[in-house]
Symmetry: C2
Amino acid sequence: MRTGTGAGMPQRGAVGAEERIRAAAVRLWSERGFHGVGIRELAEEAGLSSATLYHYMGTKEDLLADVMSRGLRRLVLAAERVTQQRAGAGPRMNALVQLHVLTHALRPRETRVVDGELRALSGDRRGGVMSLRDEYERYWRATIDEGRASGAFRVEAPGMARLALLEMCTGVARWYDPGGPMALSEVALGHAQLASRVLGAEELELVDEVDWCRGLVGEIWSGPGGG
Amino acid sequence: MRTGTGAGMPQRGAVGAEERIRAAAVRLWSERGFHGVGIRELAEEAGLSSATLYHYMGTKEDLLADVMSRGLRRLVLAAERVTQQRAGAGPRMNALVQLHVLTHALRPRETRVVDGELRALSGDRRGGVMSLRDEYERYWRATIDEGRASGAFRVEAPGMARLALLEMCTGVARWYDPGGPMALSEVALGHAQLASRVLGAEELELVDEVDWCRGLVGEIWSGPGGG
């Protein structure tokens, strides 16, 4: 694939077109859902013909699988970074929760598509996206298991606790309002505290990871396409 | 409005048509979202012409507001019943959580539309649905406030805890699989336990309200239209 034509210039060629298509898809799907947007509208939003869009991205389902996979790879990449840089189940879970909350609050459109459109996929595409989602959740699972093994966490049904925590933190994207009364850092730290309660780790010293996670989200989500 | 023509007979007339339209809307919208289904498909699914559908239900947005309002009134009715029949913040919160989880697991299609389509509404219709949602959440808010006042709950940010709990419990509809390894009663009780942790009420004696809540959901959600 050719790269863009330089800083400050509109992107041209395959990479520019693909980026524009993915950005258009995220914009429209996050507003009206995968089934609510036709291929012609997607092409129009990206400033291309339907035939050009098809040439670059294949069917609408191909494009959805591509968008969801890229989003999930970014989530995985960030979770991997947390796991490398934060030792011990408590500090790692604390950072994973703050990262998840910040990602969902700062990238609500991308995460809405990633979290909400799995049912629109079928067959291999669905399988591929599900295994990336499992890969992300494995960081949570491993951290909870480690905390139970060390005695840092006391939780009877770790699988259910993991799902409950993920839903709780993902939910921030549904209710958080950047213009509302709660600061995002307060929401992220507040959820880390609730997570420590859910995991029976109340003695856990909460560390403010908001700035670090914000930097990570900025670095991982702002570049083109993510993998 | 006329009532149905008798037990065992297909419903006819206005009530039968309206019921069929709402059922068709819930089926299709829960699969493909509000924006993913046209008025003609809705009419076809209900076995009516578009003109007849319009005659009974107005625009697609009118129909969505009607479906969402009916679902929310059922949630409110059930929460009201819990509040009347369970005294004290601990036992009431315990029952509210189990009720919410069971409602979302047993009525995933209706609750998916109720929880997921607010952004599709605008103006007065949105306002009406939002105030019904607030009415439902007020039972949770009042119970948390009561628990804090009595010392039964220890929670610093009660508004955030309420939202986090609602998202956690609503999320059950997204991952719970009736054919999967976890029994629904286990999920409901497990979430009540996690909620008591979130609210800092670990000493709370958990009561199994699954059968009672199941009966309540059956009673309130199976009759026609809910108000």
